[in-house]
C-alpha cells in the first residue's frame, strides 16, 4: 500500500493533490497546505486549560474573557499561519552545473502575488536537509538558494522540497511539499593528470607538445562583432578610435583530442570520466583547442566556455539513462 502510494501517480495525485515532478510555476493550493500544532501550540492549549479551570474555580469573568480571547487568538493564528503559505507560487530558477563533490545551488523563486507579506518561510530539500529561510514581501518574489551536495555525476534532481512556516504565533506549523521539475548537471569530479601525449596520426604530423598560453600576444587585427570584449585592445582603441582586437597565438598544432580510449581501461568508468574531465579543464586552462571522443559521441575541437560546458555535460551524462 505504502509503496503503491509512493509510486502510483494516480494515488500520488489523490494523496498529495499533484503528481511530481511538476513543471513551471507551482501554486500551493490550500488543499496542499497541511497544518498541525507545534509543541508550543500544545503548551499554549494546556495553558488555556489551566486559565479556564482557574476562571471557573474563582468565577473570574475577566478570566473567562482572557481565556476565550486567547483561544480566539490561537484559532486566528491557525488561519494566519495557513495563509502565510497558501497560494504561494513556487517556480524553480536556474541551477548552474557543478562538479561532483561540490554543492549544487538550486534556486527557488517564491512568488507572492498577495498584498500582504509572508515572513519566515523555510524551504528544505528533504533528501539532503539543505534549508534556507526567506521573507517574501507583499506582491514580490523571494529567492531561496538550496545548497544540495552533489555526490555523483549525472543529473541531480532537486526532488521534494518542503516549504514550512510558523508565522505569526509559532503555535501551528503549516507546510507543503513541492517537487519542481529542475535538475542540476553534475560534472564528474575532475582528476588532475597530465594531458595525453599527442599522437602523430591525430595531429597530422605536428609534434608540438608545448602549447601556447592564452596570453601569448601576437598582434592586433580589426574588430569583428563576435570578438569577446575581453580581447578588445582598449588602449589601442583609445589611441586610434578604431576597434582593434588582440590576436593570440592560435596554433592548429595545439589541437588535442581527449579520447576515451586513451584513458587506462583498468580504471572504472567513473574514474575514466573523471580523468577526461580533468583533461578538459586542463586543456581549457592552457587555451588549447580540444575535442572529445567518447564511445558513441564526438565533439569537434574547439575551446571556450561553450566547448567546455558541452564536453563536461557529455561526460556528466555519459551512459546516463
Amino acid at each position: 500500500m505504502l509503496r503503491a502510494l509512493r509510486t502510483d501517480p494516480r494515488l500520488l495525485r489523490w494523496f498529495y493533490g499533484f503528481t511530481p515532478p511538476e513543471r513551471g510555476s507551482i501554486v500551493l493550493g490550500q488543499r496542499r497546505v497541511y497544518i498541525v500544532p507545534t509543541r508550543l501550540g500544545w503548551m499554549y492549549g494546556a495553558t488555556l486549560g489551566i486559565l479556564l479551570l482557574g476562571s471557573i474555580n474563582y468565577s473570574l469573568a475577566l478570566g473567562f474573557a482572557l481565556t476565550f480571547l486567547l483561544g480566539g487568538i490561537g484559532l486566528a493564528g491557525m488561519v494566519h499561519t495557513a495563509r502565510n503559505l497558501a497560494r504561494l507560487a513556487v517556480s524553480p530558477g536556474r541551477a548552474e552545473p557543478v562538479f561532483a563533490g561540490a554543492q549544487a545551488q538550486f534556486r527557488l523563486h517564491l512568488d507572492n502575488r498577495s498584498h500582504y507579506d509572508r515572513p519566515s518561510i523555510l524551504a528544505r530539500q528533504l533528501a539532503s536537509g539543505a534549508q534556507s529561510v526567506v521573507d517574501v514581501g507583499a506582491a514580490s518574489v523571494g529567492e531561496v538558494v538550496l545548497a544540495v551536495p552533489a555526490a555523483r555525476r549525472g543529473r541531480l534532481a532537486l526532488g521534494r522540497v518542503m516549504l514550512e512556516t510558523r508565522f505569526p504565533l509559532s503555535l501551528f506549523r503549516a507546510w507543503s511539499y513541492v517537487e519542481p521539475d529542475v535538475q542540476c548537471i553534475v560534472y564528474p569530479r575532475p582528476v588532475q593528470s597530465p594531458l595525453p601525449p599527442l599522437e602523430a596520426d591525430d595531429t597530422g604530423g605536428a609534434a608540438r607538445v608545448s602549447m601556447p598560453g592564452n596570453d601569448d600576444f601576437s598582434g592586433l587585427r580589426a574588430y569583428q562583432a563576435s570578438d569577446s570584449p575581453r580581447h578588445v585592445a582598449w588602449k589601442a582603441v583609445a589611441r586610434t578610435a578604431n576597434m582593434l582586437t588582440k590576436q593570440f597565438t592560435e596554433d592548429a598544432a595545439s589541437e588535442v583530442w581527449l579520447d576515451w580510449s586513451r584513458t587506462p581501461p583498468r580504471l572504472g568508468t567513473e574514474d575514466r570520466l573523471s580523468l577526461l574531465a580533468g583533461w578538459v579543464l586542463d586543456a581549457e586552462r592552457h587555451g588549447a583547442r580540444y575535442g572529445l571522443r567518447l564511445p558513441g559521441a564526438e565533439f569537434a575541437p574547439g575551446r571556450g566556455a561553450v566547448q567546455r560546458a558541452e564536453c563536461l555535460r557529455a561526460l556528466a551524462l555519459f551512459d546516463a539513462p
Binding site: 503548551m43 473570574l60 482572557l66 505569526p168
Partner: protein, 655 residues
C-alpha cells in the same frame, strides 16, 4: 534530522526587541501585583529584569543556574517569613512575580521567551482575583496587545515592530468574535470546583456576625459597594430604607453576637404596609446572609428565612449574587413570638454597666406601660446631647455606662447597643439588628446603591400584643442620619469617605453616570453566570438551555466564525490582478477568432500578429498591446491606465 530546524523556537536566540517586549509586558501585568507585594520582593524582581536587560545590552553571559536557584530559595524563605505560608493565594502570586524575573534571566531562546509569555498570562489572570473593574479589563487589552506583538516578533525577528503590531492587531480583531462567542456560549459552571486557599477571600469587607464598639464605624469609612437594588416601580423613602442583615441577640458585656440561628419555613404574611418588588445584586461578602428591605415578604430560592427575620443563604456569598425580593415596608408585626427567643432577648451579663442598670430600673418603676418605657428611652437619647461621630473614643470594661454617662460620643453600634441593654435591663425583650440604612438612588438608571458606609445597627423591642418594633436610637440622637444619610449627620471634620462629602456635588454627578455604567458592567460582564446565561439564551428563544444545547450552539457558531475567517483569507488569495485578467479576456477574444496566443509569443509579437490579421481593429489591438506592456513591465501603473485597458478590451470589436 541532524541540522537544527531554523523555525524551531529552541534554536532561535532572543534579541533585544524580544526581551524589551517581554519586560514591558511583565511590567504591565505585574504592576498591580507590585502594589500588594512586599517592597523587597518588588525591588528584587525589578533588579532581575534590569539584570537581564543589561546582560543583553552588554552581551554578558547570563547567571548560572545555581545562582538563580539560590535567589529563588532566599526569596521563598523571605516570602514565608512575610506570610507564614507558601502555597497561599497571596504568597503564591508574589512568588510567581519573582519567578518571572528568574525565568527572564534564563531566557535565551524563543522557547523560553514563549514560556515567559505564558507566565505573563498567568500573572494577568491573577490580577482579576483582586479587581475585575473596567480598568482591569482595559489593562487586559493593553497587555494582550503587547504580548501578542512580542510573540509575533519571535517568529519574524527581521520584520519591523510596526508590521508586527499590525499583525497582532489583525489577530486580535479576528480573535474577538470567537472570544465573544465563547464568552457567551461556553457552558458555564458555578465554581469553586475545589477547595480554595485559606486566604482566598482575605481583605473583603462587610458586616460580620459580631458587633463591638467601633467596628461598624470602621466599616462605614469604606466606600466599597455592598449591593445594588433595582426597584420595579417606586423607590421607598429614605426613612424606610432599612436593609435587614444579621440579628444579634447575645451580649457578653462588650460584644454582640448572632449566636444560634433557627430557620423558619417562610416569612409571615405581611400585614398592610407598602409592598416593594426589587432585585438585589449583592457583592460577595463571604458570609451567609442576604439583605432585604424590612420586612421581607418572600424568600429567594438561594436562601432560607431565619426566625429572627433575616435571610440566610444556603452557602456563603462568594460571587456576586442576584436575587429577586418582595418586601413590605411599615407592615404590622406578628404579635406572637417563640418564648425561647423572648427569653434569649432578655439576657444580659451580670456585673457589667451598673449605672445603666440602675437607670433602667428607675424607668421601669416609673413607666405605666411598655410603650411609655420605650418612649422614655428614646427621649433619653434625643435629649442627652449625644454626639454622632465616625471616630468614637475607645471604651473600657463597662462600655454602655461609659458611653451613656461620660463620653456621650459614638456611632450607631454604641447607640443600638446601649438602647438594647437598657431595654433588657428594664425587662423588655430587645435585640440588635445590623444591616444597612439608606442607599443612594442613581438618577441615571434609578438603581439604589448601598455602600459599606451605609452600614448601620438599630434595635428592636418586643411589645406585648404588638410584636417586634423597630427603634433606631441613632435616629433619635442624630435625626439627620436616617433622612439625609451619614454625610449630613456626623459631626464635622470626621473622616467621611471622600465622595460622601457634601461640598463635592459635581463629583457625585459624575459618579452617578459612572456607577450606572458600572452596574451594567457588573450585571452583564462580571455577573454573567450560569443563571444569566440561561436568561440570555431564553432571549434567543432557547428555553432551558443545558450544557448540551449550549455546546451544540457554540460549535455551530464557532464553525461559522472559522469559515468566515477562512473565506476572508481565500478572498485575499483569489483577488485577481486587473491587468492580467483584462489581458486574459483580450486573449480569449482573439482566440475565439482563431488567433490563440502561442506559448512562446510575447505580448508585443502577439498584438502585432493579431493587429495584422484583423485590420478592422488594428489600432485598438496595438493600443491594448502597448498598454499591457506598459502596465506590466513599465515603471508605474496608474489606475486610469488600468481602467483604459479594461475599457479597450471591453469595447474591442473583432467582427
Amino acid at each position: 534530522m541532524s541540522t537544527p530546524h531554523p523555525l524551531a523556537p529552541e534554536f532561535r536566540a532572543v534579541n533585544a526587541r524580544d526581551v524589551a517586549g517581554l519586560v514591558l509586558a511583565l511590567v504591565i501585568v505585574g504592576a498591580p501585583h507590585a502594589l500588594r507585594a512586599p517592597w523587597w520582593l518588588v525591588l528584587l524582581t525589578l533588579c532581575l529584569y534590569c539584570w537581564r536587560a543589561l546582560a543583553l545590552l552588554h552581551h554578558r553571559a547570563l547567571p548560572p543556574r545555581w545562582m538563580l536557584l539560590l535567589i529563588a530559595a532566599a526569596a521563598i524563605v523571605g516570602v514565608w517569613l512575610e506570610y507564614r505560608v507558601i502555597f497561599g493565594r497571596v504568597s503564591g502570586i508574589v512568588l510567581l512575580l519573582l519567578f518571572s524575573g528568574l525565568k527572564l534571566l534564563e531566557t535565551r531562546t524563543h522557547r523560553d521567551a514563549s514560556v515567559m509569555a505564558f507566565l505573563c498570562y498567568f500573572l494577568l489572570i491573577t490580577n482579576f482575583l483582586y479587581s475585575q473593574s473596567v480598568f482591569a479589563a482595559l489593562a487586559l487589552c493593553v497587555a494582550v496587545v503587547v504580548i501578542t506583538t512580542t510573540v509575533v516578533g519571535f517568529s519574524a525577528p527581521q520584520r519591523s515592530l510596526r508590521a508586527n503590531a499590525r499583525t497582532a492587531g489583525m489577530l486580535l480583531a479576528h480573535a474577538a468574535p470567537a472570544g465573544l462567542l465563547l464568552f457567551l456560549l461556553f457552558p458555564r459552571v458555578q465554581g469553586p470546583m475545589w477547595g480554595l486557599p485559606q486566604d482566598a477571600y482575605s481583605g473583603i469587607t462587610g458586616l460580620t456576625d459580631t458587633m463591638s464598639p467601633g467596628n461598624i464605624a470602621q466599616l462605614a469609612q469604606s466606600d466599597a459597594l455592598a449591593f445594588r437594588a433595582d426597584f420595579a416601580g417606586r423607590i421607598p423613602a429614605p426613612r424606610q430604607r432599612y436593609w435587614r442583615g444579621p440579628v444579634l441577640s447575645d451580649f457578653d458585656g462588650r460584644t454582640w453576637r448572632a449566636g444560634f440561628t433557627e430557620l423558619a419555613n417562610a416569612p409571615p404574611e405581611p400585614q398592610g404596609g407598602t409592598t416593594y418588588r426589587y432585585s438585589v445584586l449583592l457583592e460577595p461578602h463571604q458570609r451567609n446572609w442576604l439583605f432585604a428591605l424590612e420586612s421581607a415578604a418572600a424568600r429567594p430560592p438561594q436562601a432560607n428565612f431565619s426566625t429572627e427575620g433575616f435571610l440566610v443563604a444556603t452557602s456563603p456569598v462568594r460571587n456576586r449574587l442576584r436575587y429577586e425580593m418582595v418586601s413590605a415596608a411599615d407592615a404590622r408585626a406578628e404579635p406572637r413570638e417563640d418564648p425561647v427567643l423572648l427569653r434569649r432577648a432578655l439576657r444580659i451579663p451580670s456585673g457589667y454597666n451598673p449605672r445603666a442598670r440602675a437607670l433602667a430600673e428607675d424607668w421601669r418603676g416609673a413607666a405605666r406601660s411598655e410603650s411609655e418605657l420605650v418612649a422614655r428611652a428614646i427621649d433619653f437619647f434625643r435629649e442627652g446631647r449625644f454626639v454622632y461621630t465616625l471616630e468614637p473614643p475607645l471604651l473600657g470594661r463597662d462600655s454602655v455606662d461609659e458611653f451613656l454617662f461620660s463620653t456621650r460620643t459614638g456611632f450607631c453600634e454604641h447607640f443600638s447597643s446601649a438602647f438594647v441593654f437598657l431595654m433588657r435591663a428594664a425587662g423588655l425583650p430587645a435585640r440588635v439588628v445590623t444591616g444597612y440604612q439608606g442607599g443612594d438612588p442613581n438618577p441615571v438608571d434609578g438603581i439604589l446603591t448601598v455602600r459599606q458606609s451605609d452600614a448601620h445597627a438599630w434595635a428592636e423591642v418586643f411589645l406585648r400584643g404588638r410584636g417586634w418594633l423597630r427603634v433606631d436610637p441613632t435616629a433619635a440622637a442624630a435625626p439627620g442620619r436616617v433622612d439625609a444619610g451619614l454625610a449630613r449627620s456626623v459631626s464635622g471634620g470626621a473622616a467621611l469617605p471622600l465622595l460622601m462629602r457634601p461640598e463635592l456635588g459635581w463629583l457625585r454627578g459624575m459618579r452617578y453616570n459612572w456607577e450606572a455604567a458600572m452596574h451594567k458592567w457588573n450585571v452583564w460582564v462580571l455577573g454573567y453566570d450560569p443563571e444569566r446565561q440561561r436568561e440570555m439564551m431564553s432571549l434567543f428563544g432557547m428555553r432551558e438551555a443545558d450544557w448540551r444545547s449550549l455546546a451544540a450552539l457554540l460549535f455551530a457558531a464557532m464553525g461559522v466564525v472559522m469559515l468566515s475567517l477562512l473565506l476572508w483569507s481565500l478572498r485575499q488569495w483569489a483577488r485577481p490582478d486587473p491587468v492580467q485578467s483584462a489581458w486574459q479576456r483580450f486573449c480569449h477574444k482573439l482566440a475565439a477568432r482563431g488567433l490563440a496566443r502561442a506559448p512562446h509569443e510575447g505580448p508585443h509579437d502577439y498584438a502585432d500578429r493579431a493587429a495584422r490579421s484583423v485590420p478592422a481593429a488594428n489600432a485598438a489591438i496595438r493600443q491594448i498591446g502597448e498598454l499591457y506592456i506598459a502596465l506590466r513591465y513599465g515603471r508605474e501603473a496608474g489606475a486610469t491606465q488600468i481602467a483604459e485597458l479594461q475599457r479597450l478590451v471591453r469595447e474591442l470589436k473583432l467582427a
